[in-house]
């Protein structure tokens, strides 16, 4: 038994550390097409103090540490590119507090979004959290760390990282810090009015520290939800349609999809408008306002609201959406990758055309779509490509499509979201040099030994 393994076992208990070949195999990859790299150890801490001890050990031994939440990112962000320790946070899944009146929850970093949602359903039915279209085991912390978004991102303030009210972080040197109001008073209500340091840990792919607790905003849960589906055949109209819907202030979630199957959707764009209300009267009024906003479109007969059967409506309105998971197996073999580019709203037509061109060029099928973020401030456009994991050529084609998509996203004025290492390099090459230098200065300051998820956010990993 090696020395590091024994010290890790001393920290977390022998049941929660492994260097077995099968564990290292599993933690060497995720669901996407990124190349695997094996960790030396897999560790599941149970407390912030255990995380601290592991980080101190890693500093002492100069070994990399890669934090992992649900392991669902698909772009390899929790693949240990340079070996070391994968810190699987799933045991730290306690819901510490729900403050109803101040609309926030405090959870440990391994708390799954589905778990928080289920807990709220049971104990605080008047509140809900924003859910990404990921399997419910995706974690709150993992999602905020990658600037994830979800079904309340349109109406309730943007990316999930923008819903963070406070953080507890173990810095790369082992220091435990609290950020936001919780640093000063016992409440986790807000990052303001203090100097906002949370951004040092959001979007950094775990290269600046280990988030161990999160304060996250909760939102009212109206009694009713319903939806409208608006169908167009001219993608150039979509930004205006989205703009008008957002400006009504009547919709909760606003998404969009394009898919070649089933045949009834091929060649059309579908905008899904989710609406919530506390009474039928309110629901009718909201629908009427949204319909009025698009009246000239449907009166021209060039676009219109599609009558949606109840069963299909339930499917369209569910959060998280299960249809993307089903799409993942369309080629059989269970492979699914996507680039979720964050783009200006007016670039939706460009993204649509780029997606179709890339799919055609690489001979792959696709699902394209996206979600409005923060009341029309940006759009998360996804380019999703399924593949057969048992088919190497299929995986190569998808890998090429992802690379093409990253290039296309940047060219049109968007930025690939939660990009894989090669995508990060593309972004960094286009970034202002001074910004990149500033990022590296911060990393050196926080992580002098360079142990935190090395290889990420580096021009030359």
């Amino acid at each position: 038994m090696d020395r590091i393994f024994e010290r890790l076992a001393d920290i977390v208990g022998s049941d929660y550390v492994s260097n077995a070949a099968e564990e290292r195999f599993i933690y060497s990859r995720d669901g996407g097409v990124q190349m695997p790299h094996e960790p030396d150890y897999v560790v599941l801490p149970n407390t912030t103090e255990e995380v601290q001890k592991i980080i101190l050990l890693a500093n002492e031994e100069k070994i990399p540490v890669v934090p992992m939440g649900g392991g669902l990112v698909l772009s390899g962000l929790s693949i240990p590119l340079k070996g070391g320790i994968v810190l699987d946070m799933k045991r730290m899944n306690r819901i510490i507090e729900v403050n109803e009146k101040s609309h926030y929850a405090v959870v440990e970093a391994g708390t799954a979004l589905g778990m928080l949602s289920a807990y709220l359903n049971k104990h605080h039915p008047s509140l809900k959290n924003s859910l990404p279209d990921a399997p419910p085991v995706a974690t709150v912390a993992g999602n905020i760390m990658i600037h994830g978004s979800g079904h309340l991102s349109q109406s309730e303030g943007g990316f999930h990282s923008e819903m963070v009210t406070g953080l507890e972080v173990v810095l790369p040197t082992g220091k435990i810090v609290k950020l936001g109001s919780c640093s000063t008073v016992p409440y986790w209500f807000s990052r303001a009015p203090l100097p906002d340091l949370a951004g040092l840990f959001l979007g950094w792919n775990g290269t600046t520290g280990i988030i161990t607790k999160v304060g996250i905003k909760l939102f009212p849960r109206p009694l009713l939800n319903d939806g409208l589906m608006f169908m167009t055949e001219d993608v150039d109209t979509v930004p205006d349609i989205m703009f008008r819907i957002v400006n009504t202030e009547m919709c909760e979630d606003l998404t969009f999809f394009i898919t070649p199957k089933p045949a009834m959707f091929e060649g059309f764009q579908m905008t899904i408008i989710s609406i919530t209300a506390n009474s039928e009267k309110e629901m009718r009024l909201k629908k009427e306002i949204i319909r009025d906003a698009l009246r000239d479109y449907y009166e021209s007969k060039e676009a219109g609201f599609v009558p949606v059967p109840k069963e299909m409506k339930a499917f369209l309105l569910e959060a998280p959406q299960k249809n993307l998971s089903a799409f993942a197996d369309v080629r059989k073999g269970g492979g699914f990758e996507y680039v979720g580019a964050i783009i200006p709203v007016e670039k939706i037509p460009d993204a649509y055309r780029a997606g179709l061109d890339i799919a055609a060029k690489n001979g792959i099928t696709y699902s394209l779509g996206g979600r409005m973020i923060g009341r029309g401030h940006s759009f998360m456009f996804y380019f999703a490509y399924p593949f057969n994991r048992a088919d190497k050529e299929d995986m190569d084609r998808v890998r090429q499509a992802l690379d093409d998509t990253n290039h296309a996203a940047l060219k049109m004025g968007g930025i690939p979201w939660k990009a894989e290492v090669s995508g990060q390099q593309l972004i960094l090459k286009q970034m202002e040099p001074s910004t990149y230098e500033f990022m590296q200065d911060i990393r050196k300051l926080l992580d002098p030994n360079g142990i935190m998820n090395p290889g990420n956010w580096e021009v030359n990993p």
Binding site: M231, P262, M264, F268, Y298, E299, G304, F305, K310
Partner: protein
């Protein structure tokens, strides 16, 4: 293409203009009805073409069976009018296109035509449908719904092949001559639309209600009267076969159900509103649905009985919200048999 069997001479002699005067969705006086009707017949622009909500009712109102509704649809298509937004129309034409996967299959009488409602197959069960064969799918779909889209051409193009598919793959090889139509739309296609356009139907269509009545009569001793007061939601395509309506009362008589006497039934029946939604007539949809469902409730109905699955999907939530139980006619009959 098959031409509509329409005789302008019949309209010339008509003095009541029932087709327009009885319309629940357009207002005419006798003079304007006469004027607009002639514009329609001559193929000129008329407000009928844009204002028609495609409820099918004028097919029933015409005392001479001269097919005023089919003429409206013909003219709408000639003029390039799209009652439903074009992307929705195109998408539906694609979605419901024949898949060409039909294969010969031995069937036994009674053969129930489930149109393109595979999700409804579960109702073909029990004593009510003992020994029945059910057929379903895009390759036998009547396509009559494209009347709502002003696309008679789609029906003309597809229907002959559908009829051939049913006859050659199912009925003829099994020596079956009758086809029970679960949906009013299919029955109306074979008894009204196809003859109006000179398309031959080689089998004998039987309406579901006639089948249910006959079958329940055979099983009379096993019926437990339901003692319910129900509202009946008459579907648009039943306007093509109004002679069938008495079977509703006949069936209800057998199973101990009272059809509540209400304003919006029989000739005054209101559309479920689903088509209005597709046509983007949202105010009309909401107004009609409210009038219709309130009328059911105010007249003491505890259940709303449907025969059209599309009407069921459209209205069932609202019916439930008003405290009534939405139910398909076949399921109501199952209940009466304790199934």
């Amino acid at each position: 293409m098959n031409a509509l069997n329409f005789d302008p001479g019949i309209c010339a002699k008509c003095e009541t203009y029932d087709c327009l005067m009885k319309c629940q969705y357009m207002d005419f006086d006798l003079e304007s009805a006469r004027e607009e009707r002639w514009k329609l017949i001559r193929g000129e622009d008329t407000r009928i073409l844009n204002d028609c909500v495609t409820c099918y009712a004028c097919e029933e109102y015409c005392p001479y069976n001269n097919h005023p509704f089919y003429l409206i649809v013909e003219r709408q298509e000639e003029k390039g009018i799209h009652p439903v937004p074009k992307p929705i129309e195109k998408s539906q034409i694609k979605a419901m296109a024949p898949k060409g996967v039909i294969a010969p299959m031995k069937v036994k009488e009674p053969v129930i035509n489930m149109c393109y409602f595979p999700m409804m197959l579960g109702t073909i069960r029990g004593k009510l449908f003992e020994g029945a064969s059910a057929i379903v799918g895009s390759d036998i779909f009547c396509n009559l719904m494209y009347l709502h889209f002003a696309r008679n051409s789609v029906i003309k193009e597809r229907l002959p092949k559908m009829i051939e598919n049913i006859q050659k793959n199912y009925l003829e090889p099994s020596g079956v001559k009758e086809l029970i139509c679960y949906h009013d739309e299919c029955y109306g296609t074979y008894t009204s639309w196809a003859p109006a356009f000179g398309i031959e139907v080689p089998f004998k269509p039987i309406h579901l209600f006639e089948y249910l009545y006959n079958r329940l009569s055979e099983l009379k001793s096993e019926i437990k009267p339901l003692n319910l007061k129900v509202a009946y939601q008459r579907p648009c395509s039943n306007r093509l076969s109004p002679e069938i309506d008495h079977f509703v009362d006949d069936i209800f008589g057998l199973i101990g159900v009272e059809r509540v006497n209400r304003k919006y039934d029989h000739e005054n029946a209101l559309c479920c509103g689903g088509v209005f939604e597709a046509q983007q007539r949202f105010d009309l949809m909401e107004k009609n649905q409210t009038l219709n469902v309130d009328d059911m409730k105010e007249n003491g109905a505890t259940h709303c009985v449907f025969n059209c699955p599309f009407c069921f999907w459209t209205l069932s939530d609202l019916v439930s919200q008003k405290g009534m139980t939405p139910i398909m006619m076949s399921d109501l009959c199952h209940q009466a048999l304790g199934e």
